[in-house]
């Protein structure tokens, strides 16, 4: 063992109880930091996973981000024109087959097209407003998690007959209709058609359960009087992280608004950033407290060892060695505490992962705390701890190393 390390270890070992307290201080700090990070990261991951699972990764709609330029504006560019009656455009994503073919040519993922129109659902004398969504069952299956949310009937039943409809369970009970009943859909264009309920879904999102009705795409196109038109393409990517890139290129090429899930949930993702800042602030505060413990013990040791410092300097140890010695003692406590803390953290995280409970919310049951197992958490907490230990050790070490041996030798006689 190198001499300085040997002396450092001897000094630390000579102060068993105080060293233990300092070690525990660091260990508790590291342990709880790790556990907290695992919980927070776990919750975040879980939330993002839910987002990614339930939402389309890229949502292409027939909206434009800026109002379309009117022909007259192109002609008289320098003139501001007001009171213009805009030209009627044919709304919707025109020529969907071509658009899908182009998307499929370069995006690894699954696609679903739909036409959403507003209408009213009627049964006996009751009626309720509804978003009537026309889908292609085969494509929808790959993109929408609604397939798994059925409480009666199933998604496949939509494709079974010509005029079937799937509605939310809340909507059904509002209408007083049940599985097998025939309800009337009235579109905003004034078209009326009868549909037979072949499935009831419950997504857990109230707005959807009471406001959505799924029918076949062609039926929706008839109701909306817009043959061969869709107004939404939903894309599920194999790699959800590529969504912003895909959205950007799609929007640039197709000219329709394409929104990545990250953009749609920007506020939530930003809240996570703030949450992480808060978490690391708390971790930093814990480490600061642990650092004071280390500062305390190293200060005490250097105080008690002033004579030893004088002796070693007189023997021919330079100041740098003395600085290194006490710095090493601080770092050793930091490192030892980190090692203990990682074990403690692991135990805590393991214990947390065993906690189980039941809540049925949002359509899914949560039975365990969401925990993220990540070596990075241990690394960050340890680096924090050793770093603060080094700082806490360095200050008294520098002071001790500067002492003049003559003063101490004189003082001792």
């Amino acid at each position: 063992m190198p001499l300085i390390l040997d002396i450092a270890v001897t000094h630390i070992a000579g102060r068993g109880r105080q060293t233990l307290v300092a070690l525990i201080g660091v260990a508790v700090g590291v342990g709880f930091s790790v556990a907290m990070a695992a919980l927070m990261q776990g919750g975040q991951d879980d939330f993002v996973r839910q987002l990614v699972d339930t939402m389309p990764h890229v949502d292409v709609t027939d909206e434009q981000r800026v109002a379309r330029r009117q022909p007259v504006e192109d002609v008289f560019d320098a003139v501001a024109i007001s009171g213009l009656r805009p030209r009627d455009d044919r709304r919707g994503i025109i020529n969907p087959t071509e658009a899908i073919a182009w998307l499929e040519s370069w995006i690894p993922g699954r696609f679903a097209v739909s036409l959403k129109t507003q209408g009213v659902m009627r049964y006996s004398s009751r009626e309720t407003g509804a978003a009537i969504i026309g889908v292609e069952p085969a494509r929808e299956r790959g993109v929408s998690p609604i397939v798994d949310d059925f409480v009666a009937g199933n998604f496949a039943a939509l494709a079974a007959g010509g005029n079937n409809v799937l509605v939310g369970d809340t909507m059904a009970s509002r209408l007083g209709a049940g599985l097998g009943d025939t309800i009337t859909a009235v579109s905003s264009e004034g078209q009326t058609r009868n549909f037979k309920i072949t499935g009831l879904f419950h997504t857990g999102t109230t707005a959807r359960d009471e406001g959505e009705a799924y029918i076949l795409l062609k039926n929706a196109q008839i109701l909306a009087e817009r043959p061969n038109v869709i107004n939404e393409i939903r894309i599920k990517l194999d790699d959800p992280n590529r969504a912003p890139l895909v959205a950007h290129r799609t929007e640039a090429e197709l000219g329709y608004k394409a929104v990545a899930w990250q953009e749609a949930n920007e506020a939530i993702l930003q809240a996570f950033v703030i949450r992480n800042i808060i978490m690391y602030t708390v971790v930093g505060a814990i480490m600061l407290v642990a650092g004071f413990g280390i500062f305390n013990i190293i200060s005490t040791i250097t105080h008690e060892k002033t004579r030893d410092i004088a002796i070693m300097k007189s023997l021919g140890f330079p100041e740098a060695d003395m600085r290194r010695l006490f710095l090493l003692e601080g770092v050793a406590i930091g490192a030892g505490g980190s090692a203990l803390g990682c074990m403690l953290g692991f135990a805590l995280v393991y214990a947390l992962s065993l906690v189980s409970f039941k809540i049925a919310a949002a359509g899914r049951e949560m039975t365990h705390l969401p925990i993220a197992w990540s070596a990075l958490h241990y690394l960050i907490a340890s680096v924090f701890a050793v770093g603060s230990a080094a700082v806490a050790g360095f200050l008294p070490a520098r002071r001790a190393a500067r002492q003049n041996p003559v003063d101490i030798i004189r003082g001792a006689t």
């Binding site: 001499l3 004579r307 070693m312 023997l315 330079p318 003049n404 030798i409 001792a412 006689t413």
Partner: protein, 223 residues
């Protein structure tokens, strides 16, 4: 005979609000294999002179050469290195590291210098302590030894790297007369048998009378 230490007009003034002159205008020479006493009343500056000679303190003015080398331009690291290679210290109090055994204390300067392999250091430390009559106490810690024994361990430590110069500050000051005599004889043997130069600060005039040469200091000056 070659010169180990030479000083010319060495002065050390403490820069307090009222400056305190510790030593003034000291010019002296210490050769190899000399046994020199520095004597003088308490507070005369004899210890301060020894610390200057041992590079533990820096002079305010004057010149100090060690083995022909000027100490003035040396930085802290070089001074430490010179102490390690050229000098051994023995203080009034033993000043051993309390957590280490006698043998480990003697090994520490050797390990710092790092010229020998670990097992050679171990053996050499044992031999040194044995030659000072401490063969049975190698693995005792300082608090398990008597005052005279501790001081002998300190002498062994001073000899660890075989330096040509031993500086002793009241080496017998805290010992009873029997232990004092023992330590004195050891120092004497260092000169006679090992060819060391020994400079010892003492206020014991009988002891000083038995050394080769005496430097008497009063109020920081040689008289």
């Amino acid at each position: 005979m070659s010169t180990l230490i030479e000083t010319s007009r060495l002065t050390r003034i403490l820069p307090e609000t009222v400056p305190v002159t510790l030593v003034e205008d000291i010019s002296l020479r210490i050769d190899e294999k000399e046994f020199v006493a520095i004597t003088g009343p308490s507070g005369s500056g004899k210890s301060s002179l020894l610390y200057l000679l041992g590079l533990l303190d820096r002079p305010t003015s004057g010149r100090l050469t060690i083995a022909g080398r000027d100490s003035g331009p040396m930085d802290e690291k070089e001074r430490a290195r010179t102490r390690l290679e050229m000098m051994g210290f023995v203080f009034q109090f033993h000043f051993l590291l309390p957590e280490f055994t006698a043998r480990e204390n003697v090994e520490i300067p050797m390990r710092k210098l790092g010229r020998l392999a670990r097992d050679e250091m171990h053996e050499h430390a044992g031999d040194l302590l044995g030659s000072l009559g401490l063969g049975e106490y190698l693995d005792q810690r300082p608090d398990q030894l008597s005052g005279g024994q501790r001081q002998r361990v300190a002498v062994a430590r001073a000899l660890a790297n075989d330096p040509p110069l031993i500086l002793a500050d009241e080496p017998t000051g805290s010992l009873d007369s029997k232990s004092s005599e023992q330590v004195f004889e050891i120092l004497q043997n260092l000169v006679r048998e090992r060819g060391k130069a020994v400079v010892a600060v003492t206020h014991d005039l009988d002891m000083a009378a038995r050394m080769q040469r005496r430097i008497h200091i009063v109020d920081g000056k040689i008289t």
